[in-house]
């Protein structure tokens, strides 16, 4: 019982979480947000099968997501017009099939090479499909996209998918199943060799693996799950538009996975929850939200290439060896965090004021910065923010090397213990 709980406890907890979330966050806004998160979590983990597990950077993965969405909308509309009934609850399977077929076809071409070539080909296919949305009007209906009604056909167990809460549970169940499936895949012979091909393709060839085949399979499976997500996306909004196949969606999933961390299974989940939440809340507070997102992205790529999950996992050798090693890191980390925060506050202040005077309210001077009323034509707020930036920069310059140093010291201690 104990071992069972340890083994499956995380999944049981996740299932309970999925079940009770709508009871905890009861507003319509929260429900919309949760639905969006569920869909994009599937998409992000699928994308990470490619990026994190397989080492393939795609700039066009939304086409499997979006095309499955288009096909699902057409299926809904077809059913409304008398086509044979296909249970709406099983739509993700249909979307998965669409994604899989496309993934097999496009992956055959694009996974022959890894690295930059792969990335460029993915970009090419992405642009191609985006262009098609404007050309093949009957299928894509151009910039307007297509509407559909998810309330069609029979109503098994009284489920109509009229109320959003029913859609939430549809998404939650599929998200849960997809998470388990994708996690399990990382633990299969294929999953392990996908990592091996990512880390050292040459060596993988010399233990009997065709690296192209491994990448192709990873690509196809990833596209399959992306398709399942796209199908749920279509049901959720009862609409599909060209942006769902475009670079906008491809870029969004890339952001989520990179910021959350491609190196860990939890990374895409963290990234998705965080970005979907920030996207819908911060956007109300500041018009410069996309600018901040870009800055965060750059900062993560530069200073924490493993993303948020990577920052945590970096310390795994330490807590596995001796938890006390972590204690020595506490003070340097706190100093670095403090300095970064000061720098951040100063920078946000300047950006917000510039935004205010150049875009939001040309000619006006009264604004609120961090809830403090200020006048942008006075020199004080500018001076304060600049001073904060200066202090922050100096603090970072002093504290970051200390962080690196203390982390290295801890790693040396770990290595010494391993060597025994």
């Amino acid at each position: 019982m104990k071992t069972l709980l340890r083994k499956y406890g995380v999944w049981v907890a996740a299932a309970i979480l999925f079940a009770v979330l709508p009871a905890v966050f009861t507003s319509n806004f929260a429900l919309t947000l949760l639905c969006k998160m569920g869909v994009l979590i599937i998409f992000a983990i699928a994308y990470n099968m490619l990026l994190g597990q397989g080492g393939m950077l795609s700039f066009g993965h939304a086409i499997y997501f979006g095309m499955a969405g288009y096909c699902s909308i057409h299926l809904l509309n077809g059913m409304a017009e008398g086509m044979p009934y296909f249970p709406v609850s099983l739509f993700p399977l249909f979307g998965a099939l669409v994604g899989l077929v496309m993934g097999i076809a496009i992956g055959y071409v694009s996974t022959r090479r890894a690295g930059t070539t792969f990335a460029m080909i993915s970009l090419g296919f992405g642009e191609m499909v985006t262009a098609m949305t404007l050309i093949f009007v009957t299928f894509f209906n151009g910039e307007d996209g297509i509407q559909a009604d998810r309330w069609v056909g029979p109503e098994p167990f009284g489920i109509t998918y009229g109320p959003q809460i029913e859609v939430y549970y549809l998404i939650a169940i599929w998200c849960f199943l997809a998470m388990i499936a994708m996690y399990a895949i990382t633990k299969t012979p294929f999953g392990r060799m996908s990592n091996a091909v990512r880390d050292n393709p040459e060596r993988a060839e010399f233990v009997g693996y065709n690296t192209q085949r491994v990448r192709w399979l990873a690509f196809s499976l990833s596209a399959m799950f992306a398709g399942a997500a796209g199908s749920l996306h279509a049901i959720n909004y009862e609409h599909i538009g060209f942006e769902s196949v475009s670079a906008i969606q491809s870029g969004a999933v890339l952001f989520m996975v990179f910021i959350g961390g491609a190196g860990h299974f939890l990374g895409p989940i963290i990234g998705t929850v965080l970005l979907v939440f920030l996207d819908s809340t911060l956007a109300d507070y500041t018009e410069a939200w996309l600018l901040y997102l870009g800055l965060v992205f750059v900062a993560i790529i530069m200073f924490a290439p493993g993303g948020l999950a990577g920052l945590i996992v970096m310390h795994e050798p330490m807590w596995k060896t001796d938890v006390r090693l972590l204690r020595k890191l506490f003070v340097p980390y706190l100093l670095a965090l403090g300095s970064s925060l000061i720098l951040l506050i100063g920078a946000i202040g300047i950006i917000e004021m510039i935004y205010f005077i150049t875009i939001i309210a040309v000619g006006r001077v009264d604004m609120h910065l961090f809830s403090i009323p200020i006048k942008v034509n006075e020199v004080t707020p500018w001076l304060v923010c600049t001073a904060l930036i200066a202090v922050g920069v100096q603090g970072c310059r002093l504290s970051y090397p200390k962080v690196a140093e203390s982390w290295n010291d801890a790693m040396i201690a770990v290595k010494a213990r391993i060597a025994g």
Binding site: I185, M193, R203, V207, G208, I418
Partner: protein, 249 residues
């Protein structure tokens, strides 16, 4: 005795430079065959040709009667020919256990399976554990391979190579950079794991070579100038002049 590996007139050029120049060599089933020669003679290049990393410029290589000189590395490996690398070539982010396991997944028939959990495959788990015991690395099974000491990484390199159970093993300078005691340990290990198999080994340590090999080939400037038993190689005048020089006492 039958021939497992047969090279006929094998040549390899990189651009203008002809690095391997018409090699004829037959490796007998079950023998331990060492290749020696000065730095830059083309020993590693020869291994790269046999194992499919490079394509031959001309000539043929047969493995158990099948031509393999146009095959890709994974195809040659699947036929039962495994190799190690002179420059350590492991999966640094994976644990020691996983490194070895990667070496035997194909050979145990698990291939591209994405419907079975690898931890539940008894054959895989047990064989991996056995190899770790042979390597004397069981206690470090969970350590990321990149954190191992140099000598341990070299041992792991051998472990990955032997894991698949190939009948022919190509080891490229397995003891390079090891201390005396580490070398001794590695040589015993190599002797153990190649029992009943065919070994082709590049080695610079003459003590190891004369200790381990049934036959020795001397490679100089891309040509084999002699192939013989250790005693005869030791006495061979051409070899002494070209290579062993003052070392041969």
């Amino acid at each position: 005795m039958s021939t497992v590996l047969k090279m006929a007139d094998v040549s390899k050029s990189f651009g203008q430079a002809e690095i391997i120049r018409g090699i004829n060599l037959e490796i007998e089933k079950g023998e331990r065959h060492a290749i020696i020669g000065p730095n830059g003679a083309g020993k590693s290049t020869l291994f790269n040709l046999i194992s499919g990393k490079y394509k031959v410029t001309s000539g043929t290589i047969d493995f158990n009667g099948q031509p393999i000189h146009n095959r890709r590395p994974f195809e040659i490996n699947r036929l039962g020919l495994a190799r190690s690398f002179q420059v350590t070539n492991i999966f640094p982010r994976m644990s020691v256990f996983e490194n070895v396991r990667c070496g035997l997944l194909w050979a145990t028939g698990h291939r591209y399976s994405f419907w079975q959990l690898v931890d539940r495959q008894k054959d895989v788990q047990e064989r991996t554990k056995l190899i770790l015991e042979q390597l004397n690395m069981s206690s470090r099974a969970d350590v990321p391979a990149g954190l191992l000491s140099y000598a341990d990484q070299r041992a792991l390199e051998i472990g990955i190579t032997m894991a698949g159970g190939g009948e022919v093993l190509l080891l490229d300078e397995p003891t390079a950079g090891m201390s005396h005691s580490e070398t001794d340990y590695a040589v015993n290990l190599i002797r153990d794991i190649t029992a009943g198999k065919t070994l082709l080994i590049v080695e610079h340590d003459m003590g190891v070579v004369f200790d381990l090999a049934d036959r020795i080939s001397v490679l100089v400037y891309g040509q084999i100038i002699a192939t013989d038993t250790p005693e005869k190689i030791r006495k061979n005048a051409a070899v002494q002049e070209a290579y062993l020089g003052t070392e041969a006492h």
